[in-house]
Subunit: 248 residues, 2 copies
DNA sequence: CGCAGAATTGATACATCTCAAGCTGGGTGG
DNA sequence: CCACCCAGCTTGAGATGTATCAATTCTGCG
């Protein structure tokens, strides 16, 4: 399991690993100070459900470390993941009482939380927060739409390649460098979780990963770590435009 | 083809049919006056491409009447619709130079446009606009996520039923009443456009529509008008939760 | 009337699902 | 320290839903 990085729960926002990408990214020092007053940290264990669809949402939060999934379920049990929450992503929606999706920790997760009401109040006073939130929501909408193309039109092999490429890009974005030649990523999802994300069955996921490995597009290190010998080759398999527009 | 409703291009915002749902919905009279100064109307004919993916976006706009589609295309021609723009929907993204998707008029369309720079300026001054835009973007994100469930996990029959149900709900929301027993909707999409929305082929769309008709779930009036004898029955076919959470 | 784009319908192919049987690796207790 | 256990993974064989290819048949319109 992924370990928490050592992280004091009295962490100063200035040292926060997601400071430059999260909802607080645009805040001036005084605004940050006000956020700091109302923030509190919570940790969740891998596998734990943070939020149940339909529950009251009393807080909103940023993912600091770890990975969580947003999941939607039909009555007969069919489930579709509708979002992958990586460090700096925002959870919850100001102005909405109830959570529309299940939020599940894929690894141990550290969240930076704000009670909803005070946060909404603060949003009214500090436009930098709502500006940044709008920006992030628009980015998420773009990501959701890219995912719609994947779900509607890509083959199983392309879907797997796309998932790996997307996680690799996000991973590297946090480290502020673009994925290049040899890249190693941590993909903390079970085959079943990947299947739920990609609209496939876990057997098909397994077969396609085996095929990509056989063809030398990826290598596996243990069960969760993936080596990408040539990122461009992976991107070709994903069927994405060559000029892969990474815009953040 | 759908006709324009008679609509003076010097229309007063107070009489606008989308006044209470569009990006301007929250504006006070003085804010509205400022918007009114910079707005201008444009019409587009059915079939026309309003915006090409990759083009500069010099304006943002609201759909006043008509229907347009947001479309994403892969190099080999596979296409996926990622959004259906109905009256009151917003097009374009403040702060973004280039359009990420094709926007195509499905019917004749009337748009209420704002040049991007002045609009962005106005957004900074009038929080009611950015608040409303955030709200609308969050709603679109929810819609996109509902669509991800459809694309990833629903059968062809459920997909068709869902599309009809969603359009019926949107249609009735504009008229401020919920779809009940007998409902008639206008679905101005070709079979091919529906296929692109649903991640199917046009033949499969045709077959499933025939099947739903055979089973009495829907009736066709001409090529574009659909009668829904019993909305609940349609919703069952769509596989949606019975308590269909329509939240706007 | 006749044309062209759109829709329907049929026959067949194929990708993915389903069901089922092993395999693997890391943790546990004797 | 090793055998066992079990969740997660892999692989196989066959079923099935949707795509593909190919005719027709509608429908609106010049």
């Amino acid at each position: 399991m992924t370990q928490h990085q050592p992280f004091r729960l009295t962490q100063d926002c200035g040292d926060c690993p997601i400071r430059h990408r999260a909802v607080c990214a645009r805040c001036e020092p005084d605004e940050l100070a006000r956020l700091e007053e109302i923030k509190y940290y919570r940790t969740f264990e891998a596998g734990q459900t943070l939020i149940w669809a339909g529950d009251r949402m009393d807080f909103v939060a940023s993912v600091v470390t770890g990975v969580a999934t947003l999941t939607q379920t039909m009555e007969d049990g069919r489930t579709q993941m509708v979002g992958l929450l990586l460090p700096s992503d925002f959870v919850g929606r100001p102005g909405r009482e109830r959570a529309p999706y299940n939020v599940i920790a894929a690894t141990d997760v550290l969240m930076c939380c704000f009670r909803r009401k005070p946060f909404e109040e603060l949003m009214r006073l500090t436009p930098h927060i709502s500006q940044r939130l709008l920006e992030m929501t628009l980015d998420e909408l773009d990501a959701a739409r890219e995912w719609m193309l994947l779900l509607g039109r890509k083959t199983a092999r392309e879907k797997i390649a796309s998932l790996i490429a997307i996680v690799a890009r996000r991973d590297q974005a946090l480290r502020l460098r673009a994925p290049s030649g040899r890249t190693v990523i941590d993909l903390p999802l079970t085959r079943e979780a990947m299947a739920d994300y990609l609209g496939l069955t876990l057997e098909t996921v397994s077969r396609q990963i085996s095929a990509l490995k056989r063809d030398g597009v990826i290598e596996l290190q243990g069960m969760r770590s993936i080596v990408i010998p040539d990122f461009r080759a992976l991107q070709d398999e994903a069927g994405d435009d060559a000029d892969g527009g990474f815009l953040a």
